[in-house]
């Protein structure tokens, strides 16, 4: 949540997530802290003596997780008696002016302050107003590096309650009732998966969090890891209790150094507080969690490849069945869920499965986090109820094309998804509707494509990605994607014949039908969906080519 209720004593929340860091949040936070600690020039010395360290006295400057509107970063929220005000793109030189305002010591009113002019962001705009934060409810409020703040905001309360009051079966009952489906892209019913693992013959079980968020343009899971890692750990611990696991791994991609750092710190703090380890929260439940870092292989987001990678092997997928729920890590039943799925668990238990199921659409319940990027005015993170229309997300919340032009298409589902043309923007965002259009929900990356981009080029871009990331184990994916890329080269260069297009479609069907894992099976999707909705751009040249 970005806007907070009015509070008597002011505080500043500075976004410390990767997106804002790349826009200069580090120097800004340092400048804000320095200004708050040292006092502003010309200020009475009594106030200058106040520091952030003294509770109840000075202005508190806190580093928090993602404040959503990443494209305007670095973001700072000022919470005071008049509610929250948000500032974007503030240079470090503006820090003193903001601190003076927040302390109510500025000689001029906020509206007249030149250093802040043009940096104020409207919190009433649809981008913020239409959000429904559940997974992200603590993201942007708590300091991700301080477990005390997470606990003060209700963190681990559900884990404690579950351990004291509920049986594993009762926990699974709530998750089943919630209708939660896997947020990593597959949309498999989470309750069913938990049941499958829990009902395996007695023996060791593992719980694994898939934090290998590889789709380009997707940064939802990173925001949870960087902004509220304790929520994920709580969800994982509840999941482990529900399926009877006492050991687990969080598999994070190596490209997320800050997420890894904060996750490791969170694990250490949770252990220290007795919320992980032996006899958690005074119960007889034990859980050891470890972080495993990937090494740059997109295919490791596929669950069987991910398990191989955790075991220290090449990240190649294997055929299923047996499913990991039956035989996963070292042959033991293994529950694998994505970050967002697990992070939704605490709120489901707090409010009840039925409450969660009442949000969203018929077959897709609850909320979904999307990362908006590309040719769009407001790049950032949104969490909305499932079933919200694409138009609402892209045009109303995202503000449409930055130059005022029309949106051409929206790409969802990354290299496994497809492009949805502007004419179909009224489609509700849920698992089934997107599949019906030849795209997919995917993990939640939404890249908006403007009028200036040719669709065959988009298809070629994704195919080049798939060629680069194919693990090489099965022939249809290893060789098929290379051939598809060659055909797409001809399409982009406008020398494809009708026969080429036929070959393209036939090969797409073959790769889709015969590849071993999801990466290969879905690799043709960007081609098929652009062929379906933008065929005129592929325009076969009559008689061209050999």
């Amino acid at each position: 949540m970005v806007a907070l209720p009015p509070r008597e004593r002011s505080q500043l929340r500075c976004c410390g997530a990767s997106g804002c860091r790349s826009a200069g949040a580090g120097p800004l936070l340092a400048a804000l802290r320095a200004a708050a600690a040292a006092g502003v020039a010309g200020e009475p010395s009594a106030i200058a003596a106040l520091t952030t360290a003294e509770p109840g006295s000075g202005l508190e400057v806190r580093s928090v997780g993602c404040l959503r509107l990443c494209g305007q970063g670095p973001l700072v929220a000022w919470d005071g008696p008049e509610g929250t005000r948000l500032f974007g793109g503030l240079p470090p030189e503006g820090a003193a002016a903001l601190v003076a305002q927040a302390r109510g010591l500025a000689p001029i009113p906020l509206q007249a302050e030149p250093a802040l002019a043009g940096h104020r962001l409207d919190l009433e705009q649809p981008f913020f107003r239409l959000q429904r934060p559940l997974v992200l409810e603590g993201c942007g409020i708590v300091d991700p590096e301080r477990i005390e703040e997470a606990i003060a905001h209700g963190g681990y309360a559900q884990l404690r309650r579950v351990l004291q009051e509920l049986s594993p079966e009762q926990v699974r009952e709530q998750v089943r009732r919630s209708g939660l489906r896997g947020r990593g892209g597959g949309g498999y019913p989470t309750g069913l998966k938990w049941d499958t693992v829990a009902l395996q013959p007695p023996g060791r079980r593992y719980v694994v969090c898939n934090a290998d968020e590889g789709d380009p343009g997707a940064f939802m899971d990173r925001s949870v890891l960087e902004g509220d890692p304790h929520r994920l750990l709580e969800g994982m611990a509840i999941a482990a209790y529900a399926v009877g696991a006492d050991h687990g791994y969080v598999y994070v991609r190596a490209e997320y150094p800050l997420a890894i750092e904060r996750l490791r710190l969170a694990l250490q703090q949770a252990r220290h507080q007795g919320l992980l380890g032996q006899g958690i929260a005074g119960s007889s439940f034990n859980l050891e969690l470890e972080v495993r870092v990937g090494a740059g292989a997109y295919v490791c987001g596929e669950e069987t490849a991910l398990l191989h990678s955790i075991q220290g092997q090449r990240g190649t997928p294997r055929s299923r069945p047996p499913y990991p729920a039956q035989a996963g890590l070292w042959g033991a039943p293994t529950l694998i869920n994505n970050v967002e799925t697990l992070a939704a668990v605490p709120v489901i238990l707090r409010q009840g499965g039925d409450w969660y199921a009442a949000i969203g659409s018929d077959k897709s319940r609850g909320t979904k986090v999307f990362s908006l990027s590309g040719a769009i005015r407001h790049t950032g993170l949104v969490e909305v109820p499932m079933g919200t229309s694409l138009r609402t997300v892209v045009e109303i919340m995202g503000g449409g094309d930055p130059d005022g032009g029309a949106v051409k298409a929206v790409q969802t589902g990354g290299p496994s998804g497809g492009c949805i043309p502007a004419a179909l923007l009224d489609t509700p965002v849920d698992f089934e509707s997107l599949l019906a259009l030849g795209s997919m929900m995917g993990s939640g990356g939404m890249v908006v494509i403007g009028q200036g981009t040719a669709m065959p080029e988009v298809a070629r871009h994704f195919m080049a990605f798939s060629v680069n990331e194919s693990c090489g184990k099965c022939v249809p994916c290893r060789a098929g994607t290379v051939q598809l890329l060659a055909l797409l080269d001809r399409c982009v260069e406008r020398r494809a014949t009708a026969a080429d297009l036929e070959a393209l479609e036939a090969l797409c069907a073959m790769v889709k039908a015969t590849s071993l894992c999801g990466l290969g099976q879905a690799a043709p999707n960007p081609v098929l969906s652009t062929l379906r909705h933008f065929r005129q751009e592929y325009g076969a040249v009559p008689g061209a080519g050999p």
Binding site: G73, G217, S373, V458
Partner: protein, 165 residues
Amino acid sequence: MIRRHGGQSHGLIEVLHQVQELDGFLSKPALLQVARGLRLPLSRVYGVASFYHLFRLQPPAEHRCAVCLGTACFVRGAGRLAVGLRRRLGLDLDQTSGDGRWALERVSCLGACGQAPVLVLDGVLFTAPPADQPQELDSWLTALGLPAAVALPAAVGLPAAVGTP
């Protein structure tokens, strides 16, 4: 280091990460040592080291330039930026120059989609170049300290042999 991971074979990737952090890359003697320490066949260690994109089997170049080709960057002109870089460095993507001075790499999404397109030069992130204007892009790249463009047969489609080690 191997002992810290309990000498267990499933710690292989973690061990390789740490070796690379120390040495900058995974040399043959280092791989042999890891194989012995973890009691694994060298083929298994090499198989894993060569599978993952982030493991380098060659010493890193003096300067590394990584261009983000994530979808958000692509939509905002990363393709043109990549062509500009290829011209300036005389390298294809994922190539290192023969003298070991420059390496041009591709990455998929650095998570700075709000500032797209982006590139990382020797560990420093540079954002939002004027990818649409060739001349301004050229001076932007010059300001970063990239060498002047080398003579090439064509702007796009460099011969694969250029600068191969």
